[in-house]
Symmetry: C2
């Protein structure tokens, strides 16, 4: 169960502020998630998410005290960039990163909840499609949506995906699903807090790629 | 006409040996070609080609004398890697890079030759599809082929593409096509020579991605 436990997110503190350093440490374990999907087709997605993380980390590293929390990053970048903001800097990188995180969260939640296509119980297309529809589709133009539909056929079957999540250790399916549930507690709270921050700061954009 | 002229390839010498350094310099101007296509959908292709170039450059830089020509790279890597070769090192990177180069070559040739879809004279899908079918399709599994078909819709129209190739300078279409013809002379000779080298060295593979 290495993979998921290694990347256990920190619990949300009472003030809802997310420490940038801890957050970056936790999300850095996520890109390998796309290797679990088992096809090189997902490499561009992994690269996009890695790019987001690198961009946020560069801003943080430029002044770890000033950028101690994700909230501070948005506030400071808003004052630096003026009307260019929020389509700029770490604010833009985190805007997209959170959508990838939401995608992963909904996918794992749907699997842990046992949602299945009864006609194809060993496929996870239904779970991936749910995650895509809720987290990403509205930000994608029709061509990228078409690319998604094609890439969906590269998704692994359910049993291989669960096995990959546990890094090939022999773990019973129920144990794996239970571990996912456990992982999702702090992860979901963190993603929710980031979405709330974008909403409060009026930093969300809905342009299409 | 900056873009194409800037990256004019060197003429092939009589012994058909390609100098690594000159070759790397010339191909480094090609990835921006994919920006000409005008959509972020092509970013993963650009990244793949950039990756190939970086890998070959790293091998060259490790010993510029030893790896002076592309032929030497293949010969030396063959002796270093044994049975792993040719699916390894700069040999693998150049194997894929040459397919991207062939794609570009066939696309430009088809445009310069005036091949058109009479029903859609301002689209270049027919030219792109020809280049894809001849240079890449046989190395792609059905999922990547489906992704290609979807991505094709992101291709620019003919006039925008020609304009982009000339970097927005005002150039008459015939002049642009003439410049492409001129560019293709050394470029095609170089790509042909690389293909011949892979054939002679028995270094070509046909596994699918
Ligand atoms: C041979 C033929 C080949 C043809 C090639 C076709 C290639 C098709 C292209 C595929 C697209 C790959 C996914 C990447 C999409 C990206 O375009 C978007 C926006 O990306 C953002 O853009 C911003 C500027 O607008 C900044 O640059 C951000 O960068 S910044 O850091 O610089 O600020 C960047 O993340 N990210 C996204 O949509 C996020 C994607 C997350 C994905 C989550 C999982 C989905 C899983 C799907 C499973 C089935
Ligand atoms: C939100 C949902 C998003 C879903 C995401 C879906 C993304 C779809 C994936 C798109 C694929 C992008 C193209 C890259 C394909 C690559 O897989 C292949 C093989 O790539 C090679 O693989 C080797 C190992 O086998 C080494 O790693 C090589 O690397 S090494 O240097 O390490 O040795 C590497 O180049 N290259 C290729 O097929 C070459 C492609 C050249 C393309 C030329 C132009 C085509 C133009 C098309 C115009 C319409």
């Amino acid at each position: 169960m290495a993979l998921l436990l290694d990347q256990q997110f920190a619990p949300m503190p009472d003030n809802n502020e997310i420490a940038t350093k801890t957050f970056l440490e936790s999300v850095s374990h996520l890109p390998p998630f796309f290797d679990c999907l088992g096809s090189k087709v997902f490499a561009p997605i992994k690269a996009d998410i890695n790019g987001n993380i690198t961009k946020i980390k560069a801003v943080y590293d430029s002044d770890p005290v000033k950028y101690e929390t994700l909230q501070q990053i948005l506030l400071i970048e808003k004052s630096i960039y003026g009307s260019e903001w929020p389509k700029v800097g770490a604010t833009l990188a985190l805007m997209w990163l959170k959508r990838g995180l939401r995608f992963i969260q909904i996918l794992l939640q749907s699997l842990a909840d046992g949602e299945r296509d009864e006609d194809n119980p060993n496929l996870i297309r239904i779970n991936i499609t749910k995650a895509y529809d809720q987290a990403l589709k509205r930000y994608h133009g029709w061509i990228v949506q078409k690319v998604f539909k094609a890439a969906l056929f590269a998704a692994p079957c359910r049993s291989d995906f669960l096995k990959a999540l546990t890094k090939d250790q022999e773990v019973a399916e129920e144990d794996c699903l239970e571990k996912i549930h456990q992982f999702l507690i702090n992860f979901t709270a963190t993603v929710d807090a980031i979405y709330e921050m974008y909403s409060i700061m009026n930093a969300e954009l809905d342009y299409l790629v």
